[in-house]
Symmetry: D2
Subunit: 342 residues, 4 copies
Amino acid sequence: MRAIIKASPGAGFEVAEIPVPTLQPNEVLVEVQAASICGTDLHIYNWDDWAASRIKPPLVVGHEVCGTVVECGANVTAPEVGDFVSLESHVVCNACSYCRTGQGHLCVNTRVIGVDRDGGFAKYIAIDAQNAWPNPPDLPLEIAVLQENFGNAVHTAFAVDLRAKKVLVTGAGPVGIMTIAVARAIGARSIYATDISRYRLDFAVRMGADAAFHASEDNVIESILTLTEGEGVDVLLEMSGAPSAIDQGFSLLKPGGEAALLGVTPGPLTMDWNHHLVFKAAKVAGISGRRLWQTWYQARGLIRSGAVDLSPMVTHRFPLEAFDQAFAAMASGESGKVMLTP
Amino acid sequence: MRAIIKASPGAGFEVAEIPVPTLQPNEVLVEVQAASICGTDLHIYNWDDWAASRIKPPLVVGHEVCGTVVECGANVTAPEVGDFVSLESHVVCNACSYCRTGQGHLCVNTRVIGVDRDGGFAKYIAIDAQNAWPNPPDLPLEIAVLQENFGNAVHTAFAVDLRAKKVLVTGAGPVGIMTIAVARAIGARSIYATDISRYRLDFAVRMGADAAFHASEDNVIESILTLTEGEGVDVLLEMSGAPSAIDQGFSLLKPGGEAALLGVTPGPLTMDWNHHLVFKAAKVAGISGRRLWQTWYQARGLIRSGAVDLSPMVTHRFPLEAFDQAFAAMASGESGKVMLTP
Amino acid sequence: MRAIIKASPGAGFEVAEIPVPTLQPNEVLVEVQAASICGTDLHIYNWDDWAASRIKPPLVVGHEVCGTVVECGANVTAPEVGDFVSLESHVVCNACSYCRTGQGHLCVNTRVIGVDRDGGFAKYIAIDAQNAWPNPPDLPLEIAVLQENFGNAVHTAFAVDLRAKKVLVTGAGPVGIMTIAVARAIGARSIYATDISRYRLDFAVRMGADAAFHASEDNVIESILTLTEGEGVDVLLEMSGAPSAIDQGFSLLKPGGEAALLGVTPGPLTMDWNHHLVFKAAKVAGISGRRLWQTWYQARGLIRSGAVDLSPMVTHRFPLEAFDQAFAAMASGESGKVMLTP
Amino acid sequence: MRAIIKASPGAGFEVAEIPVPTLQPNEVLVEVQAASICGTDLHIYNWDDWAASRIKPPLVVGHEVCGTVVECGANVTAPEVGDFVSLESHVVCNACSYCRTGQGHLCVNTRVIGVDRDGGFAKYIAIDAQNAWPNPPDLPLEIAVLQENFGNAVHTAFAVDLRAKKVLVTGAGPVGIMTIAVARAIGARSIYATDISRYRLDFAVRMGADAAFHASEDNVIESILTLTEGEGVDVLLEMSGAPSAIDQGFSLLKPGGEAALLGVTPGPLTMDWNHHLVFKAAKVAGISGRRLWQTWYQARGLIRSGAVDLSPMVTHRFPLEAFDQAFAAMASGESGKVMLTP
């Protein structure tokens, strides 16, 4: 079958012809209908320090995937052949103390497709049956393919109480924008966004932000203090990993406020621990992956009710082989999600 | 001044001319601009057992009130003369252990205006300054007057987690209908309503319910099981106090589901304790009044953001003196809220 | 092998010789070292209405079991042969929405050993590997055998916030008494117990209650109001299922208080819904089984730290064949836990 | 009256004769029976940067105080003359949005006695009546005087779930040690402590720690990993403000673990944001002051039940005038709490 692989250490990917994967008894074989590109894929493509330390080539890349079940392992009872599924990228062990207490997203034996084992930029992917989440047959590809990434947004937004609250979302990349849409859907009073791309700021407003500010060119602090009558925001959703955005975000957070942290910083972070956390009595939650499988049920609910409309999110479409163009679009800062089809 | 009073034990009210109240140092005098009728007022009007045991005539009735501050007691720092305010009807002591731990709605020394002390169906009312909640000057009377009652809806809906959940609201009187609107605003996936008035069922759908059923004429259980793929609902918001509705509601509640109870039953209730609560691992919260003052801040957030639009709620308007017609409208089952203006 | 079975509908059990169970690939075979008797077993022994409707003879009874793993099915990775284990009695599917969201105790496909499938009053039992909880090899049998039942106590006590709180435990049977010990260990300020057996009231005080009252012979309400300076209790742990105890418990519960309900009533319950739940703003949680597997981790923590000492709980020991004596001891109201050894 | 004052900018305090304070209508006059020294007092004594920026001399210092009410302002209903009280040091406004929503500890108008207004190292202090917390008349001075500081420990320990959990307390000064005692009382499974004073490590073990390590001389990480079977701790209570302790603490925190932060760092902190917060999905709560007045009720419960015994905490006693010796004892690292009596 055709697949996009990291063949050896170094930048870039290659198209390769490789065997169709064979199934373990608890796995299903999924024929990929669409995949989308995540920031993580970009790190692997560019072969940065993180990628060099984590990835063991050769590897089929890609972890945001939807497709059709075409074969089921011997022990699989669900899903069934023919089901249209989206994939949860984290394959967990079901046996560690985290898995056994409803904290599967923290499984110590997690293996991520496209990172630790072969992924989904390919004709087929083999994956544990429990990771294949059934969709309605008529769910558009453009939405089905986003569910794994949308799950990050849902997990972040649901980690805090947004109801009737003033919210700042720092970082308006695709996950940030989807988080804005979720925040709107679950009753945030006001949503402010920051980013360093005007394209994304416009996108954020279209998807539900009340106001969006350029993190370095606009006067973010003053503007948001004015909008909040000098009080700041009740909740910070930190999606950027940018040290300056983190500082702005916590500066604007009200005493007793909540913060959810998804953004990954480029290195150690220096911060005003006392004023941003201790004296402020901030409540902070780091966000990792998706709640297995609570987040998937929640995402389903938001999509099916129409509370969140993800249809504007995919802005670029390419055939799988045009991955170089796809990654260029993704890196431009002027895209939503970029979708690949085999 | 003119006031509507319960002059003596027995059914009905009277118009009376009484002195303008004098102020305590911590009170404000409010010139009433509008008042609305609550189910409680109907009990007092009809002089049922509860009313006979609680009410000590003569009493100015009415507890849903908005108006303008016209005088401030010596110790009052806020609000100020000229402010447009809505009134919290529960006057609390600030000194008991409930008041001192953020549970003022459970204050053991609570006195309710229009019930335990003079109320607001009058030209003026004197009330503790902290009970006068400032509104924007341009908030429509039809919305300002509802805030106390809307607070019951907010308190109920915020007592559970509705995000991406399937919800049943039993009882579509005005509070039930406003609760539906709140549930919609804070991300409920599906909202089902029951009542015994077709008028109210239609109203419930207009305000956000996905489907509404006549509690005795429709096949509620079967219909909602079908709509929920046999699973039932995640959350029950019980606003009726009707024993049959409570039984339907808990029958439809999923294991591990949440219920908030605002409805008052006509007497002791016989229920299937084991299946409805214990085996089902239900989580149930009784709802009393509004959280002081958290609910008011939340209500403000929902109204100002536009997440909830209360403008359809007032369906009938009468001058204060036409209270008999107003109570007839209220008792008809074919009204939303009924507003009185002095 | 030798087993205690319900051979056919009707009261009583029999000793029988039956084949050693054969293993499914995901199961382990456990050689039973000890078992203990639960109230549920008494219902089955007596063949009451519930038992007649649920139990399908012939059935090996017994669900509180510890023993040694002597054989592992083909797919089992843990535990290992030789491990000393206690059994979780609820075998769950891992596939339903409850199992997939950390709510396995509510699994819609639950099958309970000794109730829905063969149990552990026998030489051997076959059970899903995940249900065999590894113990330290030196854990006394008298404690290992109690863990399943102790888990009910932990689940109940952990469902509410007991820290620095005044607590009433209605029902001082073995689970109630263990709940008292947990409440003491996790910081309850005062613990009051009620029961209708003086033996159990004494036991409750030995295990940590500050005071214990006979539910029908003592003046429970007045006594506890006096002890709580007229305020009542912050938390009710309802372990009796007795209608009068439920009424006493909710009468004594403070406004805003929490209640956890484990006790099963003999039939529909008539209660003062308005005063006990709605006006009081009570927060109530039905308790079913144990959290899988969180409760087991919590129970392990309490036992290993020495915070809870269960060693006084087993008061009677019999060989398996002396089950009639054992059930008589259990039914006497003058026992703690009754242990059987094959 | 005699008082210890900061007369002018610079190090040290002075004894002064000043007028007895006059009362506002909502205040009480308390005759001080005992006071104790806090780390904050040491900052003011030493006149560090923080003190220089915050303190406006002349000022009576001291904020941990107990004594007897000798006079009540005109509007005071409780406490009464003769009552034995401990003082909450944070005087709050009751009017801001924090005070109005049960978050008085975050009041934007807070004024702290001994910091922002005259304190309690004096014969008398005037303070808002609500800040005078009534004690039983026979509560020992050595315990009554500690309640304000003990409240920090209670607030910290109650901000997380410690039940059956493994806990690391970084920083074993007096508040850290009292936090250990609270953690023990509310069911922590294991408690590990770190500090850089062997005296304090011994003290920590006496007050309930299972093991205590010198933060720089012992191999903290390896030791605690060994004790926790390689897993680390469920909860971190950070009481030191030392950057190295914070790093150790978060390194040892399990994924999904909780941290409460009371310690104040000497300046901006550089930390591994990604691994310590984001990927780890840590839940972190900054701790400020005491919950008004919930913490006081909780502290009362722990003390009265005997769950926490504070009697070993005061290790040094001096007359008020011997404040220089008292501060030397406090600064030595070889003390518990230091008590002053007028």
